[in-house]
Symmetry: C2
């Protein structure tokens, strides 16, 4: 028996190792084998290959395959296309695939999903497709989804599951266990039992391990935790993710405006959000919008080109500054050779400080209480960085060109790095105070400040020092 | 009774609203009140103010207060300094605070923590402090921590808790419940029961809701899920986080090299890791290292200055290219005025593509199977972006300077944006293939490529076109 089990475990591990590499990614050889089977229309082979995969890996397979192979795969493994596969799939890949299916097929898939996943599937369809799919669904599922869709996008109300276990305070552990055993249609996706008052407002929660470890006769009221984190249904998903992380939650009750329990959110659903929201800043700061490799090319184009055009604007401001010093450059071409150095170093220093500030704001670490301390901190870091870099570039310039030009570029670099440090904190903080996402537009403003300051300080000091005149 | 409950709930909500703003951050007025009480040495006031806070909020309070106020706060609320407060605190703030405490006090704190949090507390101390603290601890806790410290930093072995519930396959649900009720020293922090064979290798798992909903007589073997995600103890925490997210896990078994169950990791511990790892790329790409607003200034300085110096190197390469065209610039100063535009646009386009690629690599979406497809995709986006931006800058230049200069700058911009798109994918992918973190050094290489290409294409085309000679 034990030997058999061990064999079973190692067989599963071996099967896994055939398909996934050490980083848990599908191996290219495996993907190639599926593609070949698809191209030969060998549906049985396709199914045999894919069947041992976890639903999340099947979803990955769809994403990795070229677009034109995906519908054939979906047909080939129709019986494996579970709700889990669909809900794990990248939004763009899923929407593209769903568009090729009739509404009743989409409704059939949506009905197997939990509310939150069904909502995720339906919310991106256009209004007429949405209506067609909803019309095909059973009345109960339809009502649940319509009610979820009434909450704002990316809110707790869209994320939550409506299925949960809620009981009154006066019952005993034994009653609770009997209730759960006898009601076959209760969800199994729950990690805590919520205790509610007669008006259905949460008064406490009990994690399942406590229920299992407590004698049957004890009252729920005596083991429940009264202090719990409640999630308002209209809270933004980014805040939901922060609360789960901050208070180390496994699940949490979602309440409506009157404070009544209307759903629950579990940590497995939040993991995606944390990843998305934390990773989003990288993309937003770069000006790449949502930056998904599966998004249609026209979306990538329109997201990115607007920031390139904004960047063109900032670059032209820099050009105007340079143009004002055209005569100086004609007189001393070394200025043209060195000026991009000053701007580039400032831009880099600004980006560093800005990235740190944007992260600290996103994690609620940089608040009104410590803003001035953080600015002072960044000023000191900037001063140290400025002196180091200025010494290097100043010495090199003095050696190659003239000592005076070395002094000028060193002073310009110090000035620009300090300006960059100031702008790198202040710009994101100001956006945050204005209730704007600091990751979205901070880059453009920090760049325009460091570019302008870089060219102005260097060329201006060159003129002021009498180096050119 | 119901009315009382409702009052209790709303009282708690009101108390919360006094201290926290709508984004769940401590209000500046509250922080200021604590500071004033600290400065007046009013320890009772301090305690009264802080006592209603959740441990995670107490940890936030330490982070937000200036460094010099923190030891006084720790003394004032000594009885509230639970393991949870300590483990929620920012690493730098915690280490700084711990350094001011004697080893036996640190050992006392470590003993109340779960293994994973105790390890996090001790691993950053220097070797002699670590030894002193371990010497003060009980033998069992010491053994657990020493064994955890034997795993590599940032591995599953350091993250895991050793406390878990593991049972053999042959027992019934009733036996299991009795076992859990009778063993008072079992952990309560578990969400699944692991089923093991006689050699202690995991053969399945049962989530607690299944146990609660199944009649006592049923065998564990009949309700357990055989297919579970096992985490090797030496797996990097980033991969652990990806598996939790990909397979929507609430908890997972950690196994040693022989496949034996040695610990568990739960979703609440992983939430931090997901946030850290996903946010890390923003900081790494900017060259800000770990970029924490609480890290000592000398750490920020040494992390950032190295990238500024690297950036200085890349900027000097660009200067060399400009210097090669010194004569052309002397002849036509418009070249100096416009050349930063071409470099800047290319840098921006490269950063966009790089951010998208780095995220896709981190999320295992960009693999060997689809690299060529993604490159081809980015080339098409780059072509669209290039044509749009080139048309704008070309027309403006033609109007202000000469039509020929407009053609030259337009061609240079298209060339540079396409180069940027290529570099933005290839540089991170090459680092990934070489098993290097693509977020760390990609920026420097992409910048040097887009800067060089920007100046070379624009100045080179100006000469080649006969604009200057």
């Amino acid at each position: 028996m034990a030997a058999e089990d061990a064999d079973r475990v190692s067989e599963a591990e071996e099967a896994r190792a055939e398909r996934l590499d050490e980083d848990d990614r599908l191996k290219p050889e495996f993907v190639e084998a599926v593609r070949e089977a698809l191209q030969e229309d060998a549906e049985t082979d396709v199914r045999d290959l894919v069947e041992p995969l976890h639903p999340a890996d099947i979803a990955d397979l769809f994403e990795i395959l070229p677009r034109e192979d995906r519908p054939a795969l979906a047909r080939g493994i129709a019986d494996l296309m579970s709700g889990e596969v669909i809900s794990e799939m990248n939004d763009y890949v899923r929407d593209d695939l769903l568009e090729s299916l009739p509404p009743d097929a989409v409704a059939g898939i949506a009905e197997q999903l939990e509310t939150d996943d069904a909502v995720a599937l339906i919310e991106d369809l256009d209004a007429s497709d949405q209506a067609a799919v909803l019309a095909e669904m059973g009345p109960e599922d339809r009502a649940a989804i319509e009610s979820a869709l009434s909450f704002p996008e990316e809110s707790a109300g869209r994320l939550m599951q409506r299925d949960l276990v809620a009981v009154p305070e006066h019952i005993s552990i034994g009653d609770l266990i009997d209730y759960m055993r006898e009601n076959a249609d209760l969800t199994t996706e729950f990690w805590e039992v919520f205790v509610v008052d007669p008006t259905h407002r949460p008064v406490g929660s009990v994690q399942l391990s406590w229920i299992l470890r407590t004698p049957r006769g004890v009252a729920i009221a005596d083991v429940m935790k009264r202090d719990q984190t409640l999630i308002p249904a209209d809270l933004d998903q980014e805040e939901v993710a922060l609360r789960f992380q901050k208070y180390a939650l496994i699940s949490a009750a979602v309440v409506d405006k009157a404070g009544r329990l209307i759903g629950q959110i579990t940590a497995d659903d939040v993991a995606h959000i944390i990843q998305e929201e934390a990773g989003e800043d990288t993309l937003l700061l770069s000006g790449a919008g949502e930056g998904d490799i599966n998004e249609p090319i026209r979306t990538s184009y329109s997201q990115r080109v607007r920031w390139l055009i904004a960047n063109l604007g900032t670059a032209l401001v820099a050009s105007l500054i340079i143009a004002a010093f055209g005569a100086a450059i004609e007189q001393l071409v070394a200025l043209a050779i060195l000026m991009p150095v000053v701007a580039s170093i400032g831009g880099n220093a600004g980006t560093q400080t800005m990235a740190v500030s944007v992260r600290a704001l996103a994690m609620n670490q940089l608040t009104r209480s410590n803003t001035s301390r953080v600015i002072w901190r960044e000023m000191r870091v900037a001063l140290l960085n400025g002196i180091t870099v200025a010494a290097l570039i100043g010495a090199a310039t003095a050696a190659i060109f003239t000592p005076m030009l070395g002094v000028v570029i060193a002073a310009a670099v110090v000035l620009n790095i300090i300006t960059a440090g100031m702008a790198g904190v202040l710009v994101p903080v100001i956006f945050d105070r204005l209730d704007q996402d600091p990751a979205v537009a901070s880059s453009v403003f920090v760049t325009i400040i460091t570019d302008s300051m870089g060219f102005f300080a260097f060329l201006g000091l060159a003129v002021a020092s009498g180096l050119v005149g």
